[in-house]
């Protein structure tokens, strides 16, 4: 029953994500944004280094930025469902009546974002390898480690998405701003486009407490054979995986409890079907 809800939510999400235009235009739309975002960093790097892209720092920031797209997209995707269903289509209350578990529904709705983002990540990495001297070779990738790290990172993304969805349930109007701001905090603190060591000293422990720091570092090690942050250089691959596993599960547990708490407040205050508009 829950898997059926998940499957149908995924199908619904895909339709809503893609059926506003023809498939070709949708594919272009899905790729332009992430490629532009990556190119901003590329040009920033070019301007300062005079056109060099061979350094470890470039490879680290390029790969980090590519995979961080999952964080922004899944967090925004899961939380925006609440706002979109409640405020625009006014169907959120029916999901409570129909779906066996709202968690499976929200997670299912994120599947479309996951698929579109996966395509974007592949395109960005392919572009980097083809045109920017990104040192990626399929034969050198540690696929098993990448699969494990990727799965745990996606789990953490879902957990953070659920946290944001909990906030949306009791919020009016601010859907987009909250998720994007939070993604901005994570982008800054997790050493995505610069080594964690560059952050001011008081912020570094905060970064080290967030699963995405280990996720991005793990992905770099799986793809390129080395990480980017000197402060994480002493942590071996197994430890990265273990920390990521524990922190992702802990975040998921907190997110489920948090969402249930927010939902109780929303029911108490009659917010499940509120319409606040923009």
């Amino acid at each position: 029953m829950r898997l059926r809800a998940f499957r149908l939510a995924a199908w619904l999400g895909w339709q809503m994500e893609s059926n506003w235009t023809d498939p070709w235009l949708f594919a272009v739309y899905s790729i332009i944004k992430p490629v532009s975002s990556a190119l901003i960093l590329v040009v920033m790097y070019y301007v300062v280094t005079g056109g060099q892209t061979q350094g470890d720092l470039f490879a680290g920031l390029y790969v980090g930025n590519a995979f961080f797209m999952y964080v922004g997209q899944l967090m925004f995707g899961m939380s925006w469902v609440v706002m979109e269903d409640r405020e625009f289509f006014r169907t959120f209350k029916y999901m409570y009546l129909a779906a066996p578990s709202i968690y499976w529904y929200l997670t299912g709705r994120a599947v479309a974002k996951f698929l579109v983002t996966s395509l974007a990540v592949a395109v960005v990495l392919g572009f980097g390898t083809a045109f920017l001297d990104l040192p990626l070779a399929l034969g050198a990738v540690r696929w098993g480690y990448l699969a494990a790290v990727l799965a745990l990172g996606i789990l953490a993304c879902v957990a953070f998405g659920l946290l944001m969805a909990g906030i949306m349930v009791i919020s009016a109007r601010h859907g987009q701003g909250y998720a994007e701001s939070f993604a901005g905090v994570l982008y800054l603190l997790c050493g995505v486009v610069f080594p964690l060591d560059v952050l001011p000293a008081p912020l570094q422990p905060v970064g080290r407490a967030i699963p995405f720091t280990y996720w991005i570092e793990g992905v770099r090690r799986a793809l390129m054979g080395r990480g980017m942050s000197p402060s994480l250089a002493g942590v071996d691959d197994g430890a990265i995986l273990a920390i990521l596993l524990l922190s992702s599960l802990a975040t998921l547990a907190v997110a489920v409890l948090f969402y249930a708490w927010m939902e109780r407040i929303a029911r108490d205050r009659g917010l499940i079907d509120q319409v606040t508009e923009h």
């Binding site: 901003i40 920033m44 300062v48 601010h174 701001s181 901005g184 486009v193 610069f194």
Partner: protein
């Protein structure tokens, strides 16, 4: 004639009033909209520092980050505003009021400028303090003049966008969404636009922020010798595009309103 002018000016004031009052009504929103660009700016500042970039680049990034408030406002609260109004059932009310649609758009623009300035100023002041940005004080007034020209042209472009978006449903949302990062890239929000190929930077001049940012950076940051064109020429181009966008908006609004009426799209919701 005078009575009509007065009625239209009242419409401008009324539409702007909603946004002026709304600017500080939801304080958490203010905090997020100041914090959001500052966080992106923060990440880019640390990247520039990790690369050992000249100090003026920190100012470039901060100014670009502050200008995102205007671009986002133009996209989501000017260009796609008629889409939101359609969703909430307000568009019909706007259209039966006996005033020019341009007055409603002008009111939206005036209110939007006020709202975005509150956000951009917060980002700029807080960011300058946090990252220690240095300015060339003798260039501040010229920079302010170019900034005002940029805003006038930018909101003119927003009016053109509003007329185009009036026709559309979910496509409007996705189009606005699509015009964020690609424009940040093409307009050089976080780097000097001269770093792009010349033809591309010139094409990006259609977006007033491209020329505005480039000119302001040249006059307010010490040692900024990496501009695309002379700041005076960029200001003149902005003045021309300002007039062009207002004329274009007026024509597009009439044309697309007529088309939307004939195709029955003005009251179409949730499609």
């Amino acid at each position: 004639m005078l009575e009509e002018l007065e009625r239209n000016l009242r419409a401008v004031r009324a539409r702007a009033y909603v946004r002026v009052v709304g600017t500080f009504r939801e304080l958490s929103w203010v905090a997020f909209e100041i914090a959001m660009p500052l966080l992106s700016v923060g990440a880019y500042v640390f990247l520039y520092r990790a690369l050992g970039a000249p100090e003026r680049y920190i100012g470039y990034v901060l100014l670009g980050g502050a200008m995102t408030a205007y671009w986002l406002n133009v996209l989501w609260s000017m260009a796609s505003q008629f889409y939101w109004e359609k969703q909430s059932g307000q568009l019909e009310i706007f259209f039966i009021t006996p005033v020019s649609r341009m007055s409603i758009l002008a009111g939206m623009a005036a209110g939007g400028m006020f709202m975005s300035t509150a956000r951009a100023l917060g980002t700029l002041v807080l960011g300058s303090w946090l990252f220690g940005v240095q300015y060339r004080m003798e260039g501040i007034w010229a920079g302010l003049g170019i900034f005002l020209l940029t805003l006038a042209a930018l909101y003119g472009l927003g009016m053109v966008g509003a007329s185009l978006f009036m026709m559309y449903g979910r496509e409007a949302w996705h189009t606005a969404n699509l015009l964020q990062e690609p424009i940040y890239l093409l307009s050089g929000f976080y780097f000097p636009v001269r770093a792009l190929p010349r033809w591309l930077a010139a094409a990006a001049g259609i977006i007033p922020i491209t020329l505005g940012l480039d000119a302001i950076r040249q006059v307010v940051f010490p040692g900024a010798v990496d501009g695309l064109l002379d700041p005076g020429l960029e200001a003149a181009l902005l003045a021309v595009s300002c007039a062009a966008y207002f004329v274009l908006a007026h024509a597009a609004l009439r044309k697309l309103e007529d088309l939307a009426k004939r195709e029955g799209r003005l009251t179409l919701r949730w499609q």
